[in-house]
Symmetry: C2
Subunit: 408 residues, 2 copies
C-alpha cells in the first residue's frame, strides 16, 4: 500500500496527454505479488477494509509515477569517446568522425577486444545510474560487434547484465549499425548479416525480441534496411529502425510499410512519413539528447504528434551521447522540442512501453507490473522543470525496493 | 595529502585553455589549515619527506578538480513556476509571460509574502543539490523583493543560508531586476532604487559585495543601468550586469565603460561589445541552461573567446531555469555553444572565480583555499561528456569533507 501526494498512473483514457496521464491527487496504490491490484485516492482506499495490508509506504507530499522505460539504449560497450566532444566542438561532424574510423567503428574495435564478462562489468555502472534516475526497464542494443562472434558476445553480455541488475533488460539485435572495415560496401555487409548472422542469432536459446537497423544516407539505404527487416520478420523478430537521424533517408516510410514496432530518431523525417507511421501504429522514439550531442536539429516532435503518432522518448545512452537521465531528456524535450510536460512523461512510461511492445509496464493499473518511482517533488511538472539535481527518492521493481536514495 | 589519478589545478600559465588547466597525471595535493600548500605529481611528493602528513586520501583512478564556483544564481526565492514550461512549450515567450504578471513578478509576490527564515529553508535543498554536484562557492542575487523590505529580507535570507550550508555564498544586490507593478515605468523605479534602496543596502552591516542590474530592451535601458551602476560604484559596490539576453541592448558596452567585474548572459551582444569587455578585463558569464529554458539562441561563446574575453559559466539557478548541475551546463556549453571541455572547466573554476573577483578559489595552487572535488571519472573530458548521472564522489571546502556520496 503506497500513499502518494500525487499519483500519476499513465493509465487514463481520453484524447489529451493530460487525460492519458491520469493525475490522482492524494493518490494510493495497492501492490501484491509484484503486481498492481488497485489504484485510486487515499480516501477511497480508507473506505475499503484494508486492515490486511502488510506494509504501508508513506509518500505523501511526493510524486509517484510508473517506473521509467528507456526504449532506446546502446549501454553495453567497451571504452569511451570523450575526446570526440572536442572534435565536434571544433566543427567536425559525427558522420566525418565515423568516416575517419572514429565513432561507432572505434567502439567496435574496443568491444571486439573485450569479453562478455568485461563488457557486462563495464556497463553495470551506467545501468545503475539509469536505475537511480528511475529506470526500471531498458531496451539494450547490440551493434558494436559487427560479426557473429562479436554480436553473440554482446547478447551474452546483455544477459549477464540482466542477471545482476534489478533493471529489466529488453535485448535488441542491431544487425545493421555500421559497415565494418573488412567489408567494402554497405550492400555486401547487409547481405552477409542477413544471410549469415541473423539466422544464427534467431537460433540462440534466449534470443532477442527485436531486430533493428540504421537507415541513413551514407550508412544503410532504405532498400538494404527493408530487405534486412523482412528477413528478420520471417525469422520471428519484432522490428525497429533508426530512421532519418541526419537526413531524410526513407526510414519512416520503411517503418510504416513493414509495421515496425518503433522508428527512432526521426530528426529529418518529413511529415508524410509520420502520417504513414501513425496509420500503422508505429511508435516514434525521439532522442533529443543525441541531437544535442551531435549538434543536429531536434526532431519535429509537435509535427509528429499532430500527425497522430504516439511519441516515446529515450536516452540513447551510448559512447556518442553518454546520457544517464530520463529527466534530462524530458527537460530537453520540453525546452528544445516544445513537448508538454505531460507528453514527455508519457514518453518515458506508457509510450516507451509501446515502443518495446509491452502493455504491462509504463502504467500503474490493475494487473500491471508494480514498477514505480517515488520522486521528491510535489508534482509531475517538476520532472522536466528541475534539471541536474537528483530527486528520485526510491525505485521499486515488481513491488520490491531496488534503490533508496536515503533521503526519503 | 590527496593522491589523484588526474589532478587539474586550473592554475597553469600559458595561452591555451589546456595550458591554463594544468593537467597533472598521477597528481598529488597537500593541504594544511584549509589551504593548499603544494601540488605536483605523486612521484615528486614521494621524493619529499612526508612522514608527517596526518591523513592521506586515495583518489587514484579518479579526477580531482578545484571546487566549482557558480558565479550567477538566483537560488533564494519562494514558490516555483513549473507550469510556465507548458506555456513556453505552447509558444509563449518569456517576455510575454513576464508582461502578463508571470515570470519574475510572480516570484516577487511569493517572495514578498515569505519570511527570511522561510526563504532560507526553502532554498537550502537547492543549494545542497549544487554542492552534491561539486559547487563550493556560489554567488546569490536578491531581486525578488523589489522594495526595501523585500530586498533586505532576501539579504538576510542569504546570510542565514550561508550560516547553515558549507557552500560559501557571495551575495549580490540585484537592484534593477524587474519593474514592480506599483511603479509606472522603469525610469521611475530605477530612480527610486538608486535614491532610496541602494544607500540603505550599502549601509547594512554585512553588506553585499556586488550590485547588479538587468539591462534589456523592455526591462531597464542602458542609460538607466549606467546611472544605477555609477551610483553603486560610488557607494563602494563592485559591479555586475545582466546584458543583452534577448536583444542587443547596449549592456556589453555599459559593462566595458564602467569596468564591471562581469557581464552575464550576452545572448545577443555584438562582437564589438565583447572586444570592449576584453579590453577592460570584464569577465563574460554565459548561461546556456537559461537559453535552453527560454528557447532563445545560445551566446556566441566562440566569438566572445576569440575577441579575447575571459568566459565563465553559471547555472543561473532560478524559478525560470531550475538548473542544479554545473556538469549539465558544461555539457550544454560543449554541445550547444561548441566550447571545448577545457574551456568549460575553466568556466566553472578559475574564470568563475574571476567573475566574483576572487583569485583564492577556482584554482589549486600554493596558498589557495583547499576547495576541491573528487569525481568518479578518469579525466576532465568526462565532465561534459557524461550527462545526467551523478559521479561526484566527495566535495571538500577549506580542506574539510562536506559531501561524500558513499561510493568512493
Amino acid at each position: 500500500m503506497i500513499h502518494a501526494g500525487e499519483l500519476v498512473t499513465c493509465a487514463g483514457r481520453g484524447g489529451t496527454a493530460e487525460e492519458e496521464l491520469e493525475v490522482v491527487e492524494d493518490g494510493a496504490l495497492l501492490v501484491a505479488k509484484g503486481k498492481v491490484v488497485w489504484t485510486g485516492t487515499t480516501r477511497q482506499l480508507l473506505q475499503k477494509n484494508l486492515g490486511k495490508a502488510k506494509k504501508s509506504i508513506d509518500a505523501q507530499g511526493s510524486l509517484v509515477t510508473p517506473g521509467f522505460v528507456d526504449p532506446h539504449t546502446h549501454l553495453v560497450y567497451a571504452g569511451s569517446r570523450e575526446d570526440e566532444l572536442e572534435r565536434k566542438a571544433a566543427g567536425e561532424s559525427y558522420i566525418s568522425i565515423l568516416a575517419g574510423g572514429g565513432g561507432i567503428l572505434r567502439t567496435v574495435r574496443e568491444t571486439r577486444a573485450s569479453s562478455a564478462a568485461a563488457l557486462a562489468s563495464e556497463s553495470v555502472g551506467r545501468l545503475s545510474q539509469l536505475m537511480k534516475n528511475g529506470v526500471t526497464t531498458a531496451e539494450v542494443k547490440t551493434g558494436y560487434g559487427l560479426d557473429l562472434a562479436g554480436e553473440t558476445k554482446m547478447l551474452a553480455a546483455i544477459r549477464r547484465l540482466g542477471r545482476v541488475s534489478p533493471v529489466e533488460l529488453i535485448p535488441t539485435f542491431l544487425g545493421l549499425h555500421a559497415r565494418p572495415p573488412e567489408f567494402r560496401d554497405s550492400k555486401e555487409y547487409a547481405d552477409h548479416v542477413t544471410r549469415d548472422i541473423l539466422p544464427a542469432v534467431a537460433a540462440e536459446r534466449d534470443r532477442p525480441t527485436f531486430s533493428d537497423c540504421f537507415c541513413e544516407a551514407g550508412v544503410f539505404s532504405a532498400a538494404e534496411c527493408s530487405a534486412y527487416l523482412r528477413a528478420s520478420r520471417s525469422l520471428g523478430f519484432r522490428l525497429k529502425i533508426h530512421a532519418d537521424e541526419f537526413a531524410e533517408s526513407g526510414g519512416a516510410g520503411v517503418a510504416a510499410e513493414l509495421g515496425c514496432v518503433s522508428a527512432d530518431h526521426l530528426g529529418r523525417s518529413d511529415i508524410s512519413g509520420a502520417r504513414a507511421m501513425a496509420n500503422q501504429g508505429v511508435t516514434a522514439v525521439l532522442l533529443p539528447g543525441t541531437s544535442l550531442y551531435s549538434s543536429i536539429p531536434y526532431a519535429d516532435a509537435r509535427g509528429i504528434i499532430a500527425a497522430g503518432c504516439r511519441v516515446a522518448l529515450g536516452t540513447d545512452l551510448s559512447p556518442n551521447s553518454w546520457v544517464e537521465s530520463p529527466q534530462f531528456v524530458m527537460s530537453l524535450a520540453c525546452t528544445g522540442m516544445r513537448m508538454t510536460p505531460a507528453q514527455t512523461l508519457l514518453g518515458f512510461t506508457k509510450h516507451a512501453a509501446a515502443a518495446v511492445a509491452r502493455s504491462d509496464i509504463g502504467v500503474l493499473a490493475e494487473g500491471s507490473q508494480a514498477d514505480f518511482v517515488i520522486h521528491g517533488v510535489p508534482g509531475y511538472r517538476f520532472i522536466p522543470y528541475r534539471v541536474g539535481g537528483s530527486y528520485v527518492l526510491s525505485v521499486f521493481k515488481r513491488g520490491r525496493l531496488v534503490y533508496d536514495s536515503g533521503e526519503s
